[in-house]
Amino acid sequence: MTRLVSKTPEGPLADKWTNYKSKVNLVAPNNKRRIDVIVVGSGLAGASAAATMGELGYNVKCFCFQDSPRRAHSIAAQGGINAAKNYQNDGDSVYRLFYDTIKGGDYRSRESNVHRLAEASVQIIDQCAAQGVPFAREYGGLLANRSFGGVQVSRTFYARGQTGQQLLIGAYSALSRQIAAGTVEMYNRHEMLDVVVVDGKARGIIARNLVTGEIERHSAHAVVLATGGYGNVFFLSTNAMGSNVTAAWKAHKKGAYFANPCFTQIHPTCIPVSGGFQSKLTLMSESLRNDGRVWVPKRKEDCGKDPLSIKEEDRDYYLERIYPAFGNLVPRDVASRAAKYVCDEGRGVGKTGYAVYLDFSSAIKRLGEDTIRERYGNLFSMYERITDENPYKVPMRIFPAVHYTMGGLWVDYELSTTVPGLYAVGEANFSDHGANRLGASALMQGLADGYFVLPYTIGSYLSGEIRTGEISSDHPAFDKAEQEVKDRLQKLLSIQGDRTVDDFHMALGKIMWDKCGMARNAEGLKQAISEIQALREEFWSNVFIPGDASGTNVELEKAGRVADFLELGELMCRDALDRNESCGGHFREEYRTEEGEAARNDADYTYVAAWEYGGKPNEPNLHKEELVFDNVELKTRSYK
């Protein structure tokens, strides 16, 4: 059994990162030219890491499955990015951002990583502004801020409702500059199908060219996975259609531990499901909760009525009622569960009864329609396009949906997985958000990892590689990995069954949503495990994929991803079953306080559950990284 070593540097919390950076081994410029690094994924974390390592002089190859690196799903983030700038003079600081993130994550993240994240946040804003990211500004020409859930300061920077897009374009432009300079070679429309491990070290990947169907070998001294989260295991989520776990899962099967897979974030403000063919759920930014008030009718019999006809005294602004200190700005997990409860009570609204109102009428009265339009105009028009209702006049209907996965590949302080030379950055790793992520922190983490953390920490490993020389892709490990990839594609194509890939994906999603979603219990999780096993078995004997592996074959791509989700789903349930407590996004119905809130069990579960692949999907081995809190006191999270 490998012991999990977090490699957290010694010394006081606030000095750890500075000390680390001062002492970490460097790679000299003449040696960087001889070192190859592969970055898989081109979202905020991947693009910023590839660009920065290119600037430093490494030979970088970057891969994305989309037709352009600019389309990675980071682009869809709406609301903003946090930074401890304290431009508003409202008492913000690096420590406070660190503390809010630890508390928001329900004390299940690593102190040292989170503090480093808070430190880097300040530099990110400077970097992005310098790249030309058009952040919102005040009339004086300085940057504007807004508030987000779970905090009491205004530290969120934004670019209308399109912050993710603007930040990604910033990172994409930095990446493009390096592509032009020849330091980064870009592979669009490529999907990584395996990581190649030579003598215990990650030495390359096997990728499929999604246009020609060719299977390619790419060797490098280190491999960085920036492949995002696995929310699409639920089929319906706010993730892009192509977002998948395949790269991370292949790494897991090659020895990388998968940490806290059951920690998934259900975002409270999404447009509710409208029909059976729905393919994805659309998020309405959390920033809307700055000015929108969440309510349902007090009485069940009012639920079918026109919301405008329901009098003020007959409305239950339940978040303001239950959580007066934070009101509509409670963290996401709390807001989502509260919505579930009122709907389970039968007080939900809309066609299905699974929706609550998000009402802007008092903000419009207070600030005027123009101000609201300036703040949220594009979100309102998006809502209107999807639902055919005007949210300036009628309250929005919203319901929680799967949005983000806090779990991911286990990494140490250097962002290295348990496979030497294999790194994970951004949403693909588990490190910073514990059991619940605060709003506007995903963009922060992606860019912190990519611009400011990985380019330093990877030097610690690569400094030991300067004498290695070029990595050959003729090694038998490449032969073997390539053959396995090809065999698997042929196996999938040869089944020629009767059910479509989407059909299996939907069935898996339903099991996950019902039994490993907003609320879980031991019995349901056990059922889910056996249902997933049966579904997996059927998949491998009854899936239908047309065509062959040469050229573009979208069904084949999807099938490979769903096959991996069918294994991951089981691990998520096992992890949820192992964690006999409620914390953050993981709510076990057996473990709650008298008031119905989540009951954490710090005595037994203050650890990161890092799962090792046991040779079969149903035989994972659990390793624990005990979390040590030297700087914050573990408290019951209260937003009341």
Partner: protein, 250 residues
């Protein structure tokens, strides 16, 4: 709702391609256009046929991946709406809907409705950035930027790079795309230092990729899902002429 779907099928870049017609029933007016295609594809798969290949990803109108030429208009009939945000309520029961890929020399078809837009990436690589390495930045509030100016830059920066402008243009010009990037960066103080170089080099890349010249018909603006203004093209021309007259090199 019932529809007749007439869709372009092309099995690879070298195939000649043709329209195929499929009847489709059981469509809900709340479904998105791409969900309608999903249903069509599930039907095709049930008949063991090859589904229609198309680009799509975020399905919330921001990634710029979806690209369908619907009844003669890029992204279909609704103003300021990407294909993925288009809903079936915009069509009448019984309609015939014709779907084609973007058609432009610089966007070769890969398969069915999927085209290769990497020419856009290469235009950005030619200068669509501000040259600043990670770690070199000064404090973000050190340079105040007039709110109106910042808004104007943002109005251009919202371009999602979908290519509808090119698809709608009789010359297959990418001037709206190019001008949006040049405006975004050249308007801002951070982008001034290399403004001339940027416009020269991006314009050169635009032409060498095989995009045509702009004749100011405004078709691009009319179909742009992000309503990028034609003012940007005017600004681009001004910047380009200025740069051509005053640059020492290029």
């Amino acid at each position: 709702m019932k529809f007749t779907i007439k869709v372009w099928r092309q099995n690879g870049p070298k195939d000649k391609g043709r329209f195929e017609t499929y009847p489709l029933d059981g469509i809900d007016d709340d479904m998105s256009f791409l969900e309608m295609i999903d249903v069509l594809n599930q039907n095709l798969l049930t008949e063991k046929k090859d589904p229609v290949t198309f680009d799509h990803d975020c399905r919330e109108g921001i990634c710029g991946m979806c690209s369908m030429y619907i009844n003669g208009t890029p992204h279909g009939p609704e103003k300021a709406t990407t294909t993925c945000q288009l809903h079936m309520r915009s069509f009448k029961d019984g309609d015939t809907i014709t779907i084609e890929p973007w058609r432009a020399k610089a966007f070769p078809v890969i398969k069915d409705l999927m085209v290769d837009r990497s020419a856009f990436d290469r235009i950005i690589q030619a200068g669509g950035y501000i040259s600043i390495n990670t770690g070199n930045a000064i404090d973000a509030n050190a340079i105040p930027i007039e709110k109106d100016l910042s808004n104007e830059a943002m109005n251009a920066a919202v371009c999602i790079g979908c290519g509808a402008c090119v698809a709608s243009c009789k010359n297959s010009s990418a001037m709206l795309f190019l001008s949006a990037k040049v405006s975004h960066l050249n308007l801002l103080p951070q982008g001034k230092a290399e403004a001339k170089r940027r416009v020269n080099s991006m314009m050169k890349a635009h032409d060498s990729e095989g995009f045509g010249a702009c004749t100011n018909t405004g078709a691009c603006h009319a179909v742009c899902p992000k309503e990028i203004s034609l003012t940007n093209i005017a600004r681009l021309n001004r910047e380009y002429i200025g740069a051509s007259l005053t640059s020492e090199k290029e």
